[in-house]
């Protein structure tokens, strides 16, 4: 792969490579540094490695600030194990997960407001048991409801470097679709207020 066997940067890269290969879970840069040594440019080594592995059968990826190697997505058809039929998530669970991911932090009542139905008791449990969602304190409003966020495991599982990579999140935000109905309504109403005033005015002229 490289013949620069005695280049210090190469030594660092191969050490980071070994640490990430040996690790049982994705590692943060600080965690890698704890093994490789402080004062070492881990970030540069990760960049080098990511470039070296590009196009190969194994990729180096970042998920929520944690790094790990994983097989190339295009080889899924070779590796997919029939026996491991991933348990199908219910539609309620998928929607709830999406709402938490796109809106986090979000309370149960806020999830229910979007879905228009109460969350059945098992839905959040399933997501928490999968390790994708966790409670993250309480919102300081009357009732102090628990609020939920996604976890680094969620990002790793769905192949997201960060929440910014959530599919279409920028478009949704720009369209105001991540704002509560009342907020969206108020802004729409303000815009259309001028318009309708005009329309009414013109009607008045008839």
């Amino acid at each position: 792969m490289s013949d620069s066997a005695h280049d210090p940067a190469f030594d660092i890269a191969r050490t980071v490579e070994a640490v990430l290969f040996a690790a049982e879970a994705p590692l943060t840069i600080n965690e890698i540094a704890a093994y490789v040594g402080e004062g070492v440019d881990i970030r540069a080594a990760l960049r080098t490695l990511a470039a070296q592995y590009e196009g190969r059968g194994v990729h180096l990826v970042e998920r929520g600030g944690r790094w790990h190697f994983q097989t190339a997505p295009d080889l899924a058809f070779v590796l997919r194990r029939e026996r491991e039929e991933t348990r199908k998530l219910s539609r309620a669970a998928i929607e709830t997960l999406a709402i938490i991911a796109y809106h986090e932090p979000v309370s149960r009542a806020e999830i229910e407001a979007i879905r228009g139905v109460q969350i059945s008791s098992g839905t959040l449990d399933v997501l928490m048991a999968a390790g994708w969602v966790k409670p993250a304190g309480r919102r300081e409003v009357p009732g102090r409801p628990l609020i939920y966020v996604t976890t680094p495991e969620f990002l790793a599982h769905f192949g997201l470097a960060s929440r910014r990579d959530l599919p279409g999140i920028e478009d949704l935000r720009a369209a105001g679709l991540l704002d509560p109905v009342d907020t969206a309504f108020d802004s729409l109403h303000l815009e259309s207020a001028d318009e309708s005033a005009y329309v009414e005015g013109s009607e008045g002229e008839l």
């Binding site: 899924a76 998530l89 998928i94 991911a101």
Partner: protein
């Protein structure tokens, strides 16, 4: 919508299977999507009519409907009349505003449904991409750094020495009148006394009952000793009667 009506025959009771929908909002969204893909362009009035027609049909078939579907139907019926009747400026919020809010809610639910679908379609770890199957694992070797100071060492040694030092048992000085003291006291007081004197008069004055009992015992022994030495006479009328002493 009739094709999505699933009818089951349970014990002569017809039940409308609405399990496929996650509540009235979900059902409204499904109906809205039959109108147009872009929810911003749908007709809320048409949607309301569609929903009410569905509920009517379900009622005509004597189907059981969950309460929230009926609540929604009542609300939509009210909204429909509001939208059709001449505008009443006193009504706030106006039916148009409520219709717009319903549309916004449908858009938001739709956005999340699409987001969830797109999430699930990603290359998922453990399904499409795989971590290393048999990682060697990283080990953290805990190395204890023992915390102990010279003071700890010294006081520990002090405790050991103290614990194992020969133990002297010291009986605490209870207030007693020793025999020697009693002898001295009784002899002295006997020299002053002229006549038969009750033994209690020879005891030191005290409120301490223990000292008093001790003084009585030792003074009694002292009296016996003085009598033995021929320096005192003892006299007692009967058992437990007062004991009298006299100098010889």
């Amino acid at each position: 919508m009739t094709e999505t009506l699933a009818l089951h025959d349970y014990d002569d009771t017809l039940t409308l299977n609405i399990d496929g929908w996650e509540g009235p909002l979900d059902m409204l969204l499904a109906m809205a999507r039959t109108q147009k893909v872009d929810l911003r362009a749908i007709s809320i009035l048409a949607l309301v009519e569609q929903y009410l027609a569905f509920i009517e049909r379900a009622r005509a078939l004597k189907l059981e409907l969950a309460a929230d579907y009926l609540v929604m139907a009542a609300w939509l019926a009210w909204l429909k009349s509001g939208l059709l009747l001449p505008r009443d400026p006193e009504v706030d919020p106006s039916p148009e505003e409520l219709a717009l809010k319903l549309q916004l809610r449908l858009e938001r639910l739709q956005a999340m449904r699409e987001g969830g679908a797109r999430l699930l379609a990603r290359d998922r770890l453990g399904r499409d991409v795989f971590p290393r199957g048999a990682p060697e694992g990283l080990r953290t070797v805990r190395k204890a750094r023992w915390d102990a100071t010279l003071y700890d060492l010294m006081s520990a040694y002090g405790v050991v020495k103290a614990r194992t030092a020969p133990v002297f048992h010291v009986v605490h000085a209870r207030k007693v009148l020793t025999l020697d003291e009693a002898l001295e006291r009784v002899s002295r007081l006997l020299g002053v006394a002229v006549n038969w004197t009750e033994i209690s008069r020879f005891l030191p004055e005290t409120d301490d009952p223990d000292l008093r009992r001790s003084a009585l015992a030792s003074s009694f022994l002292a009296a016996l000793e003085l009598a033995r030495l021929g320096r005192a006479d003892l006299q007692q009328a009967e058992a437990f009667a007062p004991l009298y002493l006299r100098r010889v």
